[in-house]
Subunit: 114 residues, 2 copies
């Protein structure tokens, strides 16, 4: 429970949580909706959310789908978060991000051979 609170304190993690609140998404989709950070960063934060018991994942093909779990356990905070995310401005921003995500991948840092 304490972990949960700490996990929700980070704006980045709340952003991730919002993206998968209604509909589960792959790590890649989530990342493409947040072009300002690397994929690695997103993956780490997904790990934090998982440790807090807020999200769980299942493998699907080569992707891994993340979804919110424990919405119930969030209890009090759930309404608070949903109310915030139902705000019109939030939704406009979300739509733009998902459109961006659908369009295609972003260049990740170049890879060198070992």
């Amino acid at each position: 429970m304490l972990l949960m609170l700490a996990a929700l304190a980070s704006p980045r993690r709340r952003e991730i949580l919002r993206l998968i609140w209604r509909q589960p998404r792959s790590a890649g989709e989530i990342h493409r909706a947040m072009p300002d950070v690397t994929f690695g960063a997103v993956s780490l934060q997904l790990g934090v959310l998982a440790d807090a018991g807020l999200v769980e994942s299942r493998a699907e093909g080569r992707s891994r789908i993340y979804r919110v779990c424990n919405k119930r356990a969030l209890g009090p905070l759930r309404q608070w978060l949903e109310r915030m995310w139902d705000d019109q401005l939030w939704n406009l921003k979300l739509a733009a991000e998902l459109e961006e995500a659908r369009r295609g991948p972003k260049p990740q840092p170049i890879k060198k051979r070992k």
Copy 2:
């Protein structure tokens, strides 16, 4: 509201909040119940809690008394915090701390002249 969440994410600030949950206390009392940090640190954290709208203070003599405000606004989290703090172990620990506080002041860092 976002500030509130961030403020509650810190164990130290939750500890302070717990100390003044039922009964307002001076900054000094709070500090003496937390001998492992300097008074300055406590004062700064009280500032954070105040910025988050979780505590307010009034001057009384040369002391300043802090109390929790907005217990209502905490809404959902309120029950959660109270339940945690009503736990027996927590209360034993709290009693010891307050006894310690009543007994007397701790040596603060030595002061040099400017």
